[in-house]
Structure formats: C-alpha cells, structure tokens
C-alpha cells in the first residue's frame, strides 16, 4: 500500500457506516415517493364517496335540550355500545349562587329524575356531550401504535385491529369521550356514525333528537345551516384553553360547563 493514500481513502468501517446511512436515507426518500401516492389514489375509500369533499362539524344548542336521552339510547342501539359505557351522554347542570350540581344518571339514557340540591338553584340546563373530533387531538398524539387517526373528512377514529388497549388515549382525552370496550379491550369512541354519514345519513343521535338541539353539518357544503351558524353566530367550544380545536360547537353554553 502507498504511504500517501490512506488519508484520502476511507477506512472499511467508515465506508460501511456511510453506505448504510445512505441506504437508510434512500429508503426513507423512496418509500414516501411516487409509488405511495399512486397507491393512495388507487385505493380511495367508498365508491361514490370522496372524503376530500366533506369536512364535518357538529353543533349543539344547549338551550333546546330537554334531557330526554333519546340520543344516548339511539347511539347505543346504532353502535352496540355496551351497558354502562357511553359514546354520547347528557349532563344536567343545576347552578345557584352558593353552589352547583352536575349529574348524568346512566348517561341520561333513561331520562332524568327530579333532583334535590342543597342550595337555591337559579338556573338549570342539560348539556349533551360526545367526542369533539378535535383537529389537534391529544388522543391521537399519545397512541403508540397508530391506531387512532383523523380522517380527511374530519372524524377521529380508532382502528380496533391495531389498538393494543393501553388506554393512553382514554387518559389523554380531556373530555372523557373514550373508553375501553369490556369485550374487545380496545379503545372505543363516537365516530359521528361514520357508517351512516358516508352514506348521506345523519348520525343516529341527530336523527332522533326531538328538539333540534343536535345538528350535524358539512363545512364544505354551501348553504349548510350548521356551517352558517358556526361562521356567523356566537359559538363556544369546550375547554378552549387546551387548544385541541374541537369540532363540536355549542350555542348558549354556560360558563359552568367544562
């Protein structure tokens, strides 16, 4: 070997290391390239349904809710929600100067009984709750296996096949919208009835709401009443300080509601 060359020729170890790194980089570059794009357009979901043409939103007018529980019953029937667990539920707030009281017996499924509180109530109202389908959702961020995801039309869904049932997402959700299914031991939650809305139907809870408290709309559809309300009315969201960007909007929401 020539004595002057070793400084310019890389050692065997350095060469192998560099080559491996280069290969890894090339792998990353090409795996997300044109091939993936081609596959993606080939396998668009649902015949006759384009998920890029929709972006759903939910609107709840708490002033109209009568606490009948039809929504929670319909949800359980539509989605086989096990007893004692809820994808949607109704809370009752009884508020006075001296205190406040919140209850939700069986999620409001059986309606609400008369209630006695230890203070003079000045106002009382019902607030339906469900998954907020947040844009910046903590539940997806904490999922270690990529089972939770947000679709292009705005739903936060759980892939039961990927879910390992660690329940990080149940802990992460600030709205208590998720639970572990007692049978499958995977995370379950409201899907805004994805199997219905992708067929042009409304979610079951909206379908049966007798007072028009619950409304479901599409932000990409012109003249949509829910879109109009969100764009023009004073709407509130739950726990806005957490910056999760909920896509459930509330009309006439009281400060007591968390």
């Amino acid at each position: 070997m020539d004595d002057t060359t070793p400084s310019t020729t890389p050692s065997r170890r350095a060469f192998l290391g560099g080559a491996l790194r280069l290969a890894g980089g090339a792998w990353v570059l090409f795996s997300g390239g044109p091939l993936a794009d081609a596959l993606a357009t080939a396998g668009a979901p649902g015949e006759g349904y384009d998920w890029t043409e929709h972006r759903y939103a939910y609107l709840i007018d708490t002033e109209k809710c009568i606490g009948c529980g039809s929504c929670a019953r319909a949800c359980a029937a539509e989605n086989d929600v096990p007893d004692g667990f809820f994808r949607t539920w109704i809370e009752r707030y009884v508020v006075g100067v001296e205190g406040s009281h919140v209850d939700s017996p069986n999620g409001g499924k059986d309606g609400f009984p008369p209630v006695q509180v230890g203070f003079e109530p000045t106002k009382a109202f019902f607030v339906p709750k469900l998954c907020n389908h947040c844009k910046e959702t903590p539940c997806i961020q904490v999922c270690p296996v990529g089972a939770s995801y947000r679709t292009k039309d705005g739903m936060v869904l759980v892939d039961g096949e990927r879910c390992i049932g660690c329940a990080y997402c149940v802990q992460a959700c600030p709205y208590g919208s998720r639970f572990l299914d007692p049978v499958t031991h995977t995370a379950e939650k409201c899907t805004w009835c994805y199997h219905r809305v992708t067929k042009g139907l409304r979610p079951a809870c909206v379908e049966v709401c007798p007072t028009g408290t619950r409304m479901f709309g599409d932000m990409k559809r012109d003249g949509d009443p829910v879109r109009h309300a969100i764009e023009h009315d004073r709407v509130a969201i739950l726990q806005g300080h957490l910056l999760t960007e909920p896509q459930c909007f509330y009309l006439h929401l009281d400060k007591e509601v968390r």
């Binding site: 290969a23 979901p45 209630v115 899907t191 199997h195 139907l201």
Partner: protein, 159 residues
C-alpha cells in the same frame, strides 16, 4: 483487482441488510399503513362498512305507516322522529321486509322522559308534575301503566 473484493463484500452486506429490512417490514407493517398518515388506511373503509345503518328515518317508517306518519306531521309531535319513541327501524325491518314485531312502549315512563317536570328543562317546554296533572284532570288512580295514553294520542297529542 485485489481491492475490489472489499467493495463486493460491502455491497453484498448492504443488499442483504436492505432485503432483510424490506421483507421484515412487509410482514410487520400492514399494506395500507402510511398512505395518508401514520395509520392503517384500510380501516377507513372498514369503518364505513362496520354495519348497516339501523335508524332509517321518518320517511322509511312512512313507507308502510303513512296514516300514522301524516298524523304525526300535522300534530304537536311533528319534530319527534318515529324512532325516538319506537326504537331503531332495524328491530322491525330487515332487507326491506318486516322481520319482527316492533316493541311498543305504552308506559307512562316513555312520556315522562320528555314531559315530567324536572329541573333542567327549558321553561317553555310542556311538562307536568305527574300526580298533580292527574288530580287536575280529575283522573282517579295512581300514575302507572299506560295512563297517559288513556287521554293523549302520542301521534298527535293535544296539550
């Protein structure tokens, strides 16, 4: 070409490593994973097909029960979906045909879910204290069974 053997060996190792990684990845990662983000894209379609919709809406009920549907549309319960009281259509209809009798709840408890006076309902909403309402209407007997339906037609209730 003594040194070429080193290059050949390195390339061989590289090829083996790349092949092992791609084969391993093929087994471990579902095919549709990562197409639109870090999730299994096939699940979107699975969620769409998870089950047939069970609530059919008023129009589906009216296809057979036109009389009741018309009565409802003309009355005070015009905003109340049939399925809010009767339950989902799928309990009664399968593949466009009657599959089972629709269970009908005629109990006063069904009416009470909306119309019993409880704290929390909007003030303008019609609600009654059950016992007092019976006294006021001079109906003898306790609040039980289908006592509401003795006077009120649920498809077109009079106040």
């Amino acid at each position: 070409m003594e040194h070429a053997r080193h290059v050949f060996r390195a390339v061989l190792v590289l090829v083996v490593v790349v092949a092992a990684v791609s084969i391993g990845r093929g087994f471990l990662v579902p095919p549709s994973y990562g197409l639109h983000g870090p999730y299994r894209y096939d699940n979107v379609q699975e969620q769409m097909d998870v089950r047939a919709p069970r609530h059919g809406g008023v129009a589906a009920c009216a296809a057979c029960h036109a009389a009741q549907a018309d009565k409802r549309t003309a009355g005070g319960h015009r905003t109340v979906s049939c399925e809010a009281c009767h339950g989902p259509l799928a309990r009664h209809v399968a593949e466009g045909k009657r599959s089972a009798a629709m269970p009908v709840d005629r109990s006063y408890l069904l009416c009470a879910r909306c119309h019993r006076k409880v704290l929390g309902r909007p003030e303008g909403f019609p609600q009654v204290v059950l016992e007092r309402h019976l006294q006021d209407q001079q109906v003898a007997g306790p609040v039980e069974g289908k006592v509401c339906l003795d006077c009120h037609d649920p498809h077109s209730p009079k106040p």
